[in-house]
Amino acid sequence: MDELRRFARELLLKKEVAAVIGYEQVGEARTRPVVITDPDECRRLVLNEYCLNNLVVYLNRARIKALARSKEGIRKLAVVAKPCDIRSIVALIQENQIRRENLMILSMNCHGVVRDFGCEFNGDNLAAKCISCNTQSSTYADKSFGEVREIPKFTGKLEYDLSEIEQLPPSKRMEFFREQFDKCIKCYACRAVCPLCYCQRCITDKTIPRWIESSSHSRGNFAWNIVRALHLSGRCTGCGECERACPMDIPLSLLNRKMAMKSKELFGYESGKSTDNPTLVGSYDQKDSDELFM
């Protein structure tokens, strides 16, 4: 942690980066994203099991981008990212949203994070995405901090099991999802925290014509949640932020995970793995299956 603080301070002192986006501790079991431009403020930076947020979301914010702009041109932004968050960076680079050369990625060697703020870090409270994690450190980053330690074995219980839901008959599945989506209050926290939801104007905010109803009745909620999942299919890197941010506890990552599985099954594509590949939905292959088509 001290190493990170020193390194970040150096970066800012040497003016190599315009700002450092990192985590600061607030309370015992909670961190908050922080944007640091003053080298002395770097002592606020922390790295621990409570660094839940995917800070990549900030890279596409107009306000943060404005920080990087200067008279001499665009300066770099340093971002603290867990190895799984780096997948979102890769996905954004693939989609030409950010450039690698404008970034300084400070990675953290990760041994898992908690499922939500306020929980004690142990096997019971391990975040779902960490259960089968195999990228505890990243080679894509400019520099990694912290030691690699073993992720605790997951001893908790997941509320929803993807394979169980897959086995339900269609009408039951629809009932299940409708019940879940009915809880939605359309606060759009899922959209706000998602690093890949970067549209300047979301389709749901467009009013002429209004494709997705802004009312949060069953129909509007169903449309919004399906379209959100669709727009992320083949793109979602599984950071799980949407589900964590949801105040109504809708299991949003079920849909995202299912779609990630499908993209792998149908096209052998995994999002955020390599910047060399074109994106899944932005490209095509003449040899794609014709099975669905009469």
Binding site: V34, I185, C187, A189, D205, S216, R244, M248, D249
Partner: protein, 337 residues
């Protein structure tokens, strides 16, 4: 008119059962929200539970409701009013930081226009508040004039004396009317014991003085403090939608077909970028720092100026649920020189 009685938990549940059997709606705090109780065995009545993730606001001010139905013909538009029949809703075990919320919102909904929908629903609410015996680092009810033992807004107020007994205070005439048929369940109270429990309430520390905040906000509209928050906040409306007193709404028309449809009233939140977007394309609150400033100013300054009430109950929901851990208590406490 406060009158105190003693009631056993099992008798209280019997009353609840009767409420459900009569077909009235009984709300109680559930896992993450207030839920409609179908069976009394679901009722927990835990004074040590933290506030639910969202308040019961949606039962008095639904997240989405039709206002009218319309049909267009060649030269004419026919309108049909949506009619609201307020039904009796009994809220059991509401936190003191929730019970006062309807009174706070009432001023707004009866200001330049009397909102029938809100008033009718509010009129039929029976609020059974309960003393709160816990707080966490996000609670600050004592800073905004509420407290864990506040009876403000409650029709009946419960004070848990033990696991099995409650002291029941009859606060309003509405509360008395509700409890009158069940008087046989009530026995005389031991006010001394109640006072003991009340005085042992764990008050969250006072974090700020609302008058000072009000004064500071008036002077610091352009303070650079807002910029820092604007960088971190991601512009979702979790804070507004979870808030028991945030009341902004949006009116949209929804078509069934080309010629007919309905007009809906939906929740809206001031943190959305398009909340203040004008048809011309101009947006007076174009960046997040301005939007967050609006949120704080509205709660602690504008509403106070207009209605003499703070638009905040100190429940801490917005901070607890914020995806990026922005803490309203911390921000408002820093509203000083």
């Amino acid at each position: 008119m406060t009158e105190e009685k003693l009631i056993l938990k099992e008798d209280l549940l019997r009353i609840c059962d009767d409420v459900i059997k009569k077909g009235d709606t009984l709300l109680a705090p559930g896992k993450s929200e207030y839920v409609i109780v179908k069976d009394v065995s679901e009722i927990k009545l835990d004074p040590e539970a933290l506030p639910t993730k969202i308040s019961f606001k949606s039962y008095v001010f639904p997240k989405s409701e039709p206002v009218l139905y319309y049909k267009r013909s060649k030269n004419d538009v026919t309108l049909i009013d949506a009619d609201v029949n307020g039904r009796k809703i009994v809220v059991l075990g509401a936190k003191p930081c929730d019970t006062g919320s309807i009174d706070i919102m009432k001023d707004l909904f009866n200001w330049d226009y009397r909102d029938e929908f809100f008033n009718l629903r509010a009129k039929h609410f029976i609020m059974i508040g309960m003393m709160c015996k816990t707080h966490d680092e996000y609670c600050f009810c004592t800073s905004v004039g509420c407290s864990p033992v506040s009876e403000n807004g409650s029709d009946l107020f419960l004070i848990p004396l033990s696991d099995k007994e409650f002291a029941l205070r009859i606060v309003t005439e509405k509360g008395r009317e509700f409890i009158e048929p069940y008087f046989r369940f009530l026995c005389d109270a031991d006010t001394k014991r109640t006072e003991e429990v009340l005085s042992a309430a764990k008050n969250p520390e006072t974090a700020f003085d609302p008058d000072e905040v009000h004064e500071w906000l008036g002077r610091n509209f352009e303070s650079p403090k807002w910029d820092g928050i604007g960088e971190v906040c991601l512009s979702c409306a979790q804070c507004a939608f979870a808030c028991p007193v945030c009341h902004c709404f949006d009116i949209v028309d929804e078509d069934y077909s080309y010629s007919e449809g309905r007009r809906m009233k939906n929740w809206d939140g001031c943190q959305f970028g398009h909340f203040t977007l004008h048809a011309s394309g101009h947006n007076p609150r174009d960046i997040q720092s301005k939007r967050y400033r609006q949120r704080i100013n509205h709660k602690f300054r504008y509403y106070v100026d207009k209605f003499g009430k703070i638009l905040c109950t100190g429940c801490g929901r917005c901070s607890r649920g914020c995806p990026v851990s922005i803490d309203i208590k911390e921000i408002v406490s820093n509203c000083k020189d």
